[in-house]
Symmetry: C2
Subunit: 145 residues, 2 copies
């Protein structure tokens, strides 16, 4: 364990708490601190991708790596550990000749899939608009020099 996981989730940053009590109207209570920690976790580069891969079926370590070619072993290990620690995935070791390890979603992990799916859907439907906005912005910037 060299420097892996000393993610002080939400300790470095002050609780934004009461500031957002009325997030667009009031249905949104305080307690944003832990939420932020979770958002940070989801937000990292690989977490969502790994969840999507595991959503299909349980995968072994190297299988995940093949599904997400540009993740490094180190980051895969670290992200899987964090996910396991948060109760989103299970890790099962089989004492086969070369040992094999299978990762799969827990119920909690499954439940996360729903909001993630919404986000993915939003991303799909919005990508055209975003691409247009980018072009416009870049063009305007270029014309200003």
């Amino acid at each position: 364990m060299t420097g892996l996981r000393e993610n002080n989730l939400g300790s470095a940053q002050e609780c934004l708490g009461q500031r957002f009590q009325t997030w667009r109207g009031g249905e949104f209570d305080l307690a944003l601190c832990p939420v932020r920690g979770i958002l940070d976790r989801l937000g990292d580069k690989w977490t969502t991708l790994i969840l999507i891969v595991l959503a299909q079926r349980p995968h072994r370590f190297s299988e995940i790596r093949r599904s997400i070619p540009d993740i490094s072993k180190r980051m895969l290990t670290q992200t899987l550990r964090d996910l396991e620690r948060d109760g989103m995935i299970t890790r099962r070791v089989f004492p086969t000749k070369p040992p094999s390890v299978e990762y799969g979603l827990t119920e909690l992990g499954e439940s996360l899939l729903e909001p993630v799916a919404q986000l993915v859907t939003w991303a799909e439907t919005s990508q055209t608009k975003i691409a247009m906005a980018r072009s416009a912005f870049d063009a305007a910037e270029a014309s200003r020099g």
Copy 2:
């Protein structure tokens, strides 16, 4: 512009495409590449927080900074620029004596609030389970030495 924004969204990583055609059943088509770029953007440390702040009402640069005390000026500037480029927020400069700049959500930005809200809701309802899972994991790890 020193090193800001050369985010080659989705160029470094190969398109995961057809691999996820059947994300939990089949309703999930290819085209994950651009989606991934968007997810990366949402996933960064500050984007979601800024969106939530702006969801309340438009804010000035320094106001945002006060709402998110631990963001550095540089990251705030950079994140706001990226958000503006993606068409999620508008930037309006007022030629006041000390110049003031107001940032607000666009319609596209507003539309993102919905899936983000779902995620926040999930996070709120799940935080207890996650906390328990962490305790259990840490305890098990400690007992193993």
